[in-house]
Structure formats: structure tokens, C-alpha cells
């Protein structure tokens, strides 16, 4: 058992004090911070100049990037300072932050439980009150999932609205940089700082909008069919969800039930595309140009330095793209993704999609051994990822002292509107600080 939360892999140089006393991070922070500056934590797959960027992998142990991510540059301009790099599942592949080369992060509500993933360290550092906000990355739910397990807001923006330059790619077509905070006001503030076109990311863009922060009541809400939902989520989550729907109906909000198939089908589609992109994106880690010095052949070095889940995804990705299988697997997934994407965006014209974020509260460390059961943690989160739409985890309630949250998502580029609608729905939350 680790004696400390293990939220951080490394600390910023100005915080050498904190490094010596991991239990006293908060106090040291107060000493170092300027009056006007805001400290924040960064997931360790986002490139920074003063701290190593490891992706929690041995293959990048000690790697210092010669350049920094665009989001870091933007935040620094707004008087924010980076405290340190937070723990994650190796290369952001996982939903528990246990596959880190540096060991698992512990849930601040219960140190025997995981903090979710893959951005577990970021979620935990905000939940524990170490920093007011943290950056994570969300591919299939890596911001929303740990936000649910740690009881904080976790925002996944529309794909392309925040520059990915400096975010170490997992599955590029779904990777986004996301935000953790305890209030939606702060989420919106950080989003306003980091969003927008970046000349170093050709997929990034500006959206002309003039939506100020403030509670907004949604007209219509799409929810999964309750009788299906009961089979998927734990009872306590189901009951809370049922209450919320009743509350919303009382507010004269049009409630529309949808089949759970869309989530059931999203899962394999998501993983097929994710595997394919992972296999290609991780090819650059050959041990030649960066990472620890070694005298091994690339194949030996990769086998020794990459974890089991990472290797599994690379191998699966090679298979999914290989001749004879590509058509039936990868291309079929791409086709289904288009269909799913248009469905979700069509719904968003009228209203929100509302679901639980996770099927349960945080599970015990080392309790999930089977990769499929780990993948099923992403049940509700992969559909918005595939569609590239924004989604937020709202901390909702606690069960036996462990938090869980609900997810709202909407359409492409409706981020600011979604934050406002989440603020309104948050009024019904049973979350108490």
C-alpha cells in the first residue's frame, strides 16, 4: 500500500519543497504561489518545459520535452503556474490510473479505491484541494470517468476547439484536452483561456460565439430507457437518475427515452478506432531519439518498456488495420462512427443527452483484472467521444462515501451552451461539499 496519494509524477522546479514532503503539498504550494497567480496541475501526457513528460511509461521515463504544449503557453499568459505533472494510466490507456509505470493513484475519498482514469491524478489533485483546476486528456472518457470517481466537474470540449499541440497522441481523432475543477465557473474560465485556433494544430479552430456564463434551462433531454439502464448501472445510481428525470419532467422539460444500443454499439466502434490509431501513434517510441538511453533493438526495447495494455492495443491496432481485416473491422467502425455521430448531433439540435457517467462508484485497487470489464467502464462516455461532441461530468452524489456523477453532452461547438445547461441541471444535484 502506498503511503501517499501518488497524484503527481513530478513537481515543478519551484516546488522542490513539495517534492520532499509529499504529504504536505498543499502547505508548500501556499508558500510558493504569488498572490495573483493560480496554480494548476497537468496530466503527464501534455508536454511541459520544466518537468518531465512521461505518459506514465518507462519508455519516456525522465523525458523532458524541448517545447511546451499550446495550452500551457496560453495558461501561463494568464498568470497560471504549473505545479506538477499528474499520474495517469500508461499513455492514457485505461480507466483506473493503475497501469502507470509509477504505480496507481489513490482515490482521495478512500485510499483503497482507484481514482478512475485515465486522468486519475488530475481528478484526484482537484478533489483533494491541491489545485483549483487541472488539465487532463479525454479520448473515450478519460476526463469524465475520473471526475465521476473523484467528485469533480470534468469537461471534455468539442474535438478541435482546444489545440492538441503538445498533447501526446493516443487516438488522435478523439483526443481532446479537458478540464477538471470544482465549479463550472472555473471550468468556463479555463476553457476560455485555452480554446481557439492554434497555428501548430491544423485541426483546431475558432468559434464565433457570444454566450456568457449563466444557468440555462434545457428544452429537451434525451435519456437512456430506464428499464435498460437498470441492467447497466448500480441500483443507487439508477435510483438517483430516476429521481432526476422526475424532477426535470416537473420543470416541463421534454424527456425523450432512447435505446441503450447506441452506447452498447459505441463501445466496440470506439475500441476498434482507438486500437488502429494507437498502433500508428505509438510507432515513434522506438528508443532512438528520446526517452532513456538504451542499446536494444527497437522491438526488444518496446517489449520491455511498454506495459501490457499498451502492447495489447498496439497489437490489436495492427490487426485491425491489416490486409484482409481492415475492411471488416476498421472501415466498418469508421462507417458506424459516421452514423452515430450524425445521430448524436441531430439530438443536440433540440436538447441534451443525459446519462450516468460511470456504471458504479470507484472500485478497489487491483480488483479488475479482465480488460473487457475495464473497457465497460467507458459504457456511457465513448459515444460523445466518437461524435466529437462536448460532454461534462456533474458530480451528483456519494454512495458509501464514494462519489459518482452524471454526464451531459450536446452537439459540436455547443460547448459554452452545454456548460450553462449543466449549471442549471446541477441545481438538482445532491452533491454537498
Amino acid at each position: 500500500m502506498l503511503g501517499y496519494p501518488n497524484d503527481f509524477i513530478s513537481f515543478s522546479k519551484s516546488l522542490s519543497l513539495a517534492r520532499q514532503d509529499k504529504n504536505n503539498i498543499f502547505i508548500s504550494l501556499v508558500c510558493e504561489a504569488k498572490d495573483s497567480s493560480v496554480p494548476f496541475a497537468v496530466k503527464d501526457n501534455i508536454c511541459t518545459l520544466t518537468t518531465p513528460t512521461t505518459c506514465a511509461s518507462r519508455i519516456l521515463d525522465g523525458y523532458i520535452s524541448p517545447y511546451e504544449a499550446t495550452v500551457l503557453t496560453k495558461l501561463k499568459k494568464h498568470d497560471c503556474f504549473e505545479v506538477g505533472k499528474t499520474n495517469l494510466d500508461e499513455f492514457a490507456m485505461g480507466t483506473s490510473s493503475e497501469t502507470s509505470f509509477y504505480g496507481p493513484s489513490l482515490n482521495p475519498w478512500d485510499p483503497t479505491k482507484v481514482c478512475g482514469g485515465s486522468s486519475g491524478g488530475s481528478a484526484a489533485s482537484v478533489a483533494a484541494g491541491i489545485v483549483p483546476f487541472a488539465l487532463g486528456s479525454d479520448t473515450g472518457g478519460s476526463v469524465r470517468h475520473p471526475a465521476s470517481f473523484c467528485g469533480v466537474f470534468g469537461f471534455r470540449p468539442t474535438w478541435g476547439r482546444v489545440s492538441r499541440y503538445g498533447l501526446i497522441s493516443m487516438a488522435s481523432s478523439m483526443d481532446v484536452i479537458g478540464i477538471f475543477s470544482k465549479t463550472l465557473n472555473e471550468v468556463r474560465w479555463v476553457f476560455d483561456v485555452i480554446k481557439g485556433f492554434d497555428r501548430n494544430d491544423s485541426t483546431s479552430y475558432d468559434v464565433k460565439e457570444n454566450i456568457t456564463f449563466g444557468s440555462k434551462k434545457p428544452k429537451k433531454v434525451f435519456v437512456p430507457k430506464l428499464k435498460d439502464l437498470a441492467k447497466i448501472v448500480e441500483l443507487y445510481i439508477f435510483e438517483d437518475f430516476e429521481i432526476l428525470i422526475k424532477d426535470l419532467a416537473k420543470e416541463n422539460i421534454d424527456i425523450q427515452e432512447i435505446e441503450c444500443d447506441i452506447f452498447e454499439n459505441s463501445l466496440p466502434v470506439y475500441y476498434l478506432i482507438c486500437y488502429a490509431e494507437v498502433s500508428s501513434n505509438l510507432s515513434r517510441f522506438d528508443g532512438i531519439r528520446f526517452g532513456p538511453k538504451n542499446n536494444h533493438h527497437a522491438d526488444v526495447w518496446r517489449k520491455d518498456s511498454l506495459g501490457e495494455e499498451v502492447r495489447r492495443r498496439i497489437l490489436m491496432g495492427c490487426h485491425v488495420l491489416s490486409e484482409g481485416h481492415k475492411e471488416g473491422l476498421y472501415e466498418k467502425a469508421v462507417h458506424l462512427r459516421k452514423h452515430l455521430s450524425s445521430t448524436l448531433n441531430d439530438w443536440s439540435k433540440d436538447g441534451l443527452l443525459l446519462t450516468p457517467t460511470t456504471p458504479s462508484v470507484a472500485f478497489g485497487i487491483n480488483s479488475k483484472k479482465d480488460p473487457i470489464s475495464m473497457y465497460r467502464q467507458d459504457f456511457f462516455t465513448t459515444a460523445p467521444s466518437l461524435a466529437g461532441v462536448p460532454a461534462i461530468n456533474i458530480p451528483w452524489n456519494k454512495y458509501k462515501g464514494l462519489p459518482y456523477g452524471f454526464q451531459v453532452s450536446s452537439g459540436v461547438d455547443m460547448d459554452e451552451n452545454l456548460i450553462n445547461e449543466a449549471l442549471w441541471i446541477n441545481n438538482f444535484s445532491k452533491w454537498t461539499r
Binding site: 501534455i46 505518459c55 499541440y165 498533447l167 497522441s169 487516438a171 501548430n200 531519439r289
Partner: protein, 462 residues
């Protein structure tokens, strides 16, 4: 023996862009690893940003090669491991290249030929692997330099056709400012694939790499055809292999045996959106069209070919007034002018001035100046002297006087009784050789027409 070689070409051309294909680094030559950024090194977190100009150049090439242009072109990842490939994949094209199904007309040995173009696509160059003793060094300056790949159908029947195709294509690529076309620096590289059919027995395709010049391409293909024909005749199986041309031994040497088809696991690069290709309106005459234009005016194929292969030379040719004797002009360009330009390529197609050259050719045609004298004047003309004063300065010394001419004719007739006898026996054509002797003897200062008359007069007198 019924021999049918089938030759296809894969041509890589470095595009004439100031900056790289997916970042803002310079493409210029520089010390190792100085024109590099996180994108060139394939560092974690770096993203490609497409250079739009590169796609415009590629579209221009598609237009030149009469390809159908894909309005939306897709950048795909070609996945494979190699130390010179920093990302572990090359951003290339697969399903939707810039252009497909084009054609290129050209002449080979005076015969019209057509090659079909299968596809043209853009891709980024790899880094350069340099082996120094025990060490393997990598220079990433080349990493990300924009490349155009042109793939032809196996439409060439011999090495000369392949060579002439490359020469004419290269000339147009330079004219359209698509590439510098410099093979010696690797700005244009060609990999032929060769197979033969001997009496219906077909060999497997052999790829030849490492060719540094067009004549090298021709030599390698010629050698490979001969090699395959011998193998087929001996009943051997020609394996599908990759060979490299070895300049020192003038042979193709086996590089690697293809065990199985590689699977590059192509898929659209998720870091890049679809590329909307702008249609090019860049029109030039191809060398094929140029040759036809010149031959219509009576220029010989050889001269027309030479002129067509350099657009500056052709433009010079074209800038002369309509009435000029094109044959004479072509002879001047491919002769004295081309050796002059060879010494000073900076004035190629600029000097001598068209006006001066036109007058000089007219003087020669009208008989006022001999060709030999004109050639002597040429350097002065190029240096900027005025043509009229140059001609005037010649005065009468230009041509032999009537008296000198008759003395010359007399001498020639007297010294060549054998030829004179042939003439008298009816072989009047031999007069040409007598005139030629006279021209040489007078160092070109005799007027050929007048000399001929004078010789004929003299023969009749004897």
C-alpha cells in the same frame, strides 16, 4: 525470339517549396540537423500542419500530366519501421491521391510515344541515414521535405524510351517550377521496374534503386533486360527482387529479396483534415508539342529535340520573328550558341540579343557574310558590340575579291583532275566536294555560290 520488355517508372520529385510539407522549417541545404523542429523529429505531441503551396504544386503537376484531379485528396499514414522514419509512419497518400489516370506524350528516336500515368501523390521525405564506419547517423533536415511521386504504367518498351520520357518530363517540371529536377542532388529520383516476356514466358518484376542520372537509368534498364533475357532463356526463374545500380561495375546488384508483400496498414491521418485541391491553370507546351512545332517549320528532329528539352532555349527560339529561317536558327542554337551557353549558363536564352542574332542570320542568308565569319563575329556580338559596325568593319575583307576567287577556283580545278574528270563524265554532284575544298582553303571567306560558278567556269575552260 519474340522479346517484349515491360518497363514502368516510379519517380520521386522534391517539390520547389521554401518550407517543408507539414511544418515551417526551411527546405534549403544546411548543416545536419539545423532545419528541424519537433515535427521533423517526430517528437511526442507534435502535429503536422499542411503546407498549402505543396498541394498547389502537386495540382499543377496533375494538370501537366493530364491526370484527373481528386477535388478532395486524403493524406494517409503508411506505417513501417525504419530508423530514418521518425514517426514510424510516413504521411503519404493511398486511396485518394492528388491525381490519377494521366498521360504523357514524348518522342523517342523520332517516334511518337505515349506513357500512361497511373497516379501522382504527395508525401513527406524521410530523414537521411548516413553510415560512417561503425556509426549510423541521422540527418533530419530532409525529414518532411515535400515529395511528389509519379507512377507510370509499364508502358516503356526499351531503356531509351524510359530515358526520353524522363528527359522530357524533367524539362516540364523545371519549366512549371514544380521541381529543380536536379538528379545529382536527389531532387529527382527514379526507380524503374523491369520485366521481360520472351516468347510468351514472362519474368517477375525487378525494381532498381539508387540511380543518380537519366543515363544511369537507361544503362541499368538495358543491363537488367539483358540479364533477365538470359535468365529466361536458360530456364531460370526471375525472382521479384530489388536491385541497386552500381556505377563502378556498371551492373545491377541484388539488394533485397521480397519475401512477401508488405502491409503498410494505410489509414487516413487523423491529425489532418481532408485537403481541398485547387485546380491549376498553369499551361505550358510540353517538349512533345515543342518538337512538333519546330519540325513543322522544317527543323530536324535531333535539333528540335535538343531545343525542346530546355524551356529557356525553346523560349529563345520562339522569340525570333516569324520570317526567320528556322532551320538556320535551330542550327545556330544547337551549335555555336549552345557551346557558348555551356560556358556561361547565366546568359542562357538571354544573350545574344534576338535582334542581333536575327540580323546576323539574315546577313548569312543573303550571302553578305559567310557562316565562318559570322561565327567569328559572334563573341564580339555577345560582348555587346553593335552588329552593323561589326559587319562594316569587315569591309571587303569579308569575302574574297573576284580576282582571288578565280585564282582559288583555278587552283582547285588544277589540283583535282580526278574529280574534274568525274564531273565531266556526268557525275555533276562531285562539284560539291570541290566547293567544300575551296571553302576550307579560303577559311570560309569564299562565297559558296560564286565559288561554284567560278569552278564550273574553270572546268569548262580546261
Amino acid at each position: 525470339m519474340n522479346l517484349n520488355p515491360m518497363i514502368g517508372l516510379e519517380i520521386h520529385v522534391q517539390l520547389m517549396s521554401q518550407t517543408k510539407m507539414y511544418c515551417r522549417c526551411s527546405c534549403s541545404y544546411s548543416d545536419p540537423n539545423t532545419n528541424c523542429c519537433p515535427v521533423c523529429y517526430g517528437l511526442p505531441g507534435a502535429l503536422p500542419v499542411p503546407n498549402k503551396y505543396v498541394f498547389d504544386l502537386a495540382s499543377r503537376c496533375a494538370h501537366l500530366l493530364k491526370c484527373s484531379l481528386n477535388e478532395f485528396s486524403v493524406a494517409e499514414r503508411k506505417n513501417y519501421f525504419y530508423p530514418d522514419l521518425p514517426k514510424g509512419y510516413q504521411i503519404s497518400q493511398f486511396l485518394k491521391p492528388i491525381g490519377e489516370n494521366g498521360e504523357w506524350f514524348f518522342f523517342s528516336e523520332g517516334v511518337e510515344c505515349k506513357a500512361r500515368i497511373r497516379r501522382i501523390q504527395v508525401e513527406e521525405d524521410t530523414a537521411q541515414l548516413i553510415v560512417k564506419g561503425q556509426d549510423s547517423l541521422l540527418d533530419f533536415n530532409r525529414s518532411g521535405i515535400p515529395l511528389l511521386e509519379i507512377v507510370t504504367e509499364p508502358d516503356f518498351k526499351n531503356s531509351r524510351e524510359a530515358g526520353e520520357f524522363l528527359r522530357s518530363l524533367r524539362s516540364s517540371l523545371i519549366e512549371c517550377e514544380i521541381s529543380t529536377g536536379k538528379m545529382e542532388t536527389g531532387a529527382m529520383r527514379c526507380e524503374p521496374n523491369v520485366s521481360v516476356s520472351v516468347d510468351g514466358r514472362v519474368s517477375n518484376k525487378v525494381e532498381i534503386k539508387n540511380l543518380g542520372s537519366i543515363s544511369g537509368v537507361e544503362k541499368a534498364i538495358k543491363w537488367e533486360i539483358a540479364c533477365q533475357v538470359k535468365q529466361v532463356e536458360d530456364g531460370e526463374v526471375v525472382n521479384s527482387v530489388t536491385k541497386g545500380w552500381d556505377e563502378s561495375s556498371q551492373k545491377c546488384i541484388l539488394q533485397r529479396v521480397k519475401e512477401s508483400a508488405s502491409d503498410y496498414r494505410y489509414f487516413p491521418d487523423p491529425d489532418l483534415s481532408m485537403i481541398k485541391t485547387r485546380k491549376s491553370s498553369f499551361d505550358v507546351l510540353t517538349p512533345y508539342q515543342k518538337v512538333k512545332i519546330m519540325m513543322d517549320k522544317g527543323v530536324s528532329f535531333q535539333m528540335a529535340r535538343t531545343i525542346s528539352l530546355n524551356h529557356k532555349v525553346f523560349n529563345y527560339y520562339q522569340s525570333f520573328p516569324k520570317g526567320i529561317n528556322n532551320k538556320e536558327l535551330a542550327a545556330w542554337i544547337t551549335g555555336p550558341l549552345s557551346s557558348f551557353w555551356k560556358n556561361d549558363s547565366s546568359v542562357l536564352g538571354i544573350s545574344p540579343k534576338v535582334k542581333d542574332m536575327t540580323e546576323l542570320i539574315c546577313y548569312v542568308e543573303s550571302g553578305k557574310v559567310t557562316r565562318a565569319i559570322a561565327k567569328e563575329i559572334l563573341p564580339k556580338l555577345i560582348k555587346g558590340s553593335d552588329i552593323d559596325s561589326l559587319i562594316n568593319a569587315l569591309g571587303d575583307s569579308n569575302y574574297l575579291s573576284d580576282q582571288d576567287l578565280s585564282v582559288l577556283a583555278e587552283d582547285i580545278v588544277r589540283q583535282n583532275p580526278g574529280i574534274v574528270e568525274k564531273y565531266l563524265n556526268g557525275k555533276t554532284a562531285v562539284i560539291k566536294s570541290l566547293v567544300g575544298m575551296g571553302m576550307r582553303k579560303s577559311k570560309g571567306r569564299a562565297h559558296p555560290e560564286l565559288l561554284k560558278l567560278e569552278i564550273e567556269k574553270n572546268i569548262k575552260l580546261t
